[in-house]
């Protein structure tokens, strides 16, 4: 299948996915296409199910109905063991970092390599130290996770997701909580990572519209559990849809009521 926005082949595809927690329906017949070899941004209000969407791609959550594909493989039909093989192709940055607090910074980033590669400890070391430097954490490798700031954790999580150079990268708000300079540096790192590997598929959840306009190839907006608007950043910027206009400008006036959950 071809993504109409970018003209690229589909890497990840949601087909009519519905997910509810009790009576609270979060994803409602969601169709979503994430193109291969591009950076896609998933935007939408807080609590609309962006993180839930990401967890479905990794098989961390199962839909109530609908199907999800990675390439031609149907994630939703896989058993745990097959899922593991697919997950091996992914890197994921969790919204709250999800670092192992029993390990220091270095061991957190080295973890995926030590688990899955036969690289020598020297090779692991140089790879991890390089990555830590590129996320601005030079010299922090022996710090305990519990003593890091929120922004530092986020960057350790980013380094951990990148360490194995996966085919798919899922970022859940990679720059939220970072100062503007660091945020720009992380956007740059995401962009460079994408450029270095043309077949890489990046899916980024973000509330940072300036990043969307700077590095996105495709943008999809989630509302009420479905994609309501999608297009190139250019199309989003020029859209006259009141929903989009209000969201992008951060205005209180428009169809979105800030007091409604």
């Amino acid at each position: 299948m071809i993504d109409v926005v970018t003209g690229f082949a589909a890497a990840i595809r949601f087909e009519g996915v519905t997910k509810a927690f009790g009576s609270h329906v979060v994803l409602r017949n969601l169709d979503l296409l994430v193109p291969r070899g591009a950076i896609t941004f998933l935007i939408g209000r807080s609590g609309t199910g962006k993180s839930v969407t990401l967890k479905h791609i990794m098989g961390l959550m199962r839909p109530d109905s609908g199907r999800i594909f990675v390439g031609d493989d149907e994630i939703t039909a896989m058993r745990e063991r097959e899922l593991r093989a697919t997950r091996n192709r992914f890197g994921m940055v969790f919204q709250h970092a999800a670092l192992f607090d029993s390990m220091d910074v270095f061991d957190n980033v080295a973890f995926p390599l030590r688990e899955h590669s036969r690289d020598s400890e020297a090779k692991v070391r140089s790879r991890v130290l390089d990555l830590l430097a590129s996320v601005g954490l030079k010299g922090a490798e022996r710090r305990a996770v519990s003593e890091l700031s929120g922004g530092m954790r986020k960057r350790v999580g980013l380094a951990r997701a990148l360490v194995r150079e996966p085919e798919f990268l899922l970022y859940d708000e990679p720059t939220t909580g970072l100062d503007p300079v660091l945020a720009a540096a992380m956007d740059q790192l995401i962009l460079e990572t994408q450029r270095r590997k043309p077949a890489l598929t990046s899916l980024i959840i973000s509330h940072d519209m300036s990043a969307v306009f700077r590095i996105a190839d495709k943008v999809a907006m989630l509302r009420d559990g479905a994609v309501v608007v999608e297009g190139t950043p250019q199309q989003i910027r020029e859209s006259s849809d009141p929903l989009v206009v209000q969201f992008v400008s951060g205005s209180l006036l428009g169809p979105i009521d800030a007091s409604q959950g």
Binding site: R84, M92, A98, E115, H116
Partner: protein
Amino acid sequence: MEVGRVATLAALALANLPVRPFRVRETIRLIGFIGVDSLPIVLLSGLFTGAVFTVESYEAFRLFGAQGLVGGTVGVALTRELAPTLTGLLVAGRAGSALAAELGSMRVTEQIDALHAMAVDPVNYLVKPRVIAATLSVPLLTALFDAVGIAGSYAVAHWELHLSDPEFWIRLRAWVDWADIEAGLIKGTAFGFVIGVVACSRGYHTEGGARGVGLATTQAVVISSVTLLVLNYFIALALAEST
């Protein structure tokens, strides 16, 4: 529901035994935590359990003028019953709670999701080493409980009750045989396994934040303690039938 979850996790952990990586280092670290770190409380409890049981039974036997039976009685009660059961309860309280809290907080902070996301099986990485460590630690602690319990009993018999050494040791040797010690160790092994799988299961399936972790911790201790006492009866029954 709960039984199903625990049984499923137990089966998964057992099926994972031959699966690489074996996590030997992590298992040794956990034996340190579950076993070695429990030594002080187990030794102290063993010493005083042996001592108090000697004082109490001495009083009863004296009524029949049969003080000489004390050593043997205490020996059998300790090795078959008191050592495995009390050790199991102590380890459930001390280590079972900590294991459940650790896994529970990993669950609510999405560290277990992160393991899945990195294609690492949490059963292999977290559950297997903990279950093995608990299963090995409890029988070893039980054996030590036996030893210090008998030492405590002898100390009281000798210095407090002034029993002669032959009176104490002859009956003990005659009554306590390998089958008693073995029964205690079999129980200890089973109790260790129960503590390991119940604690891991409660932690692994934790829901809701800090409160959920607290609940998982309490439940791990309560469920494993009660299970252990019930299981104790059935193992005793099975052992009685097999002899």
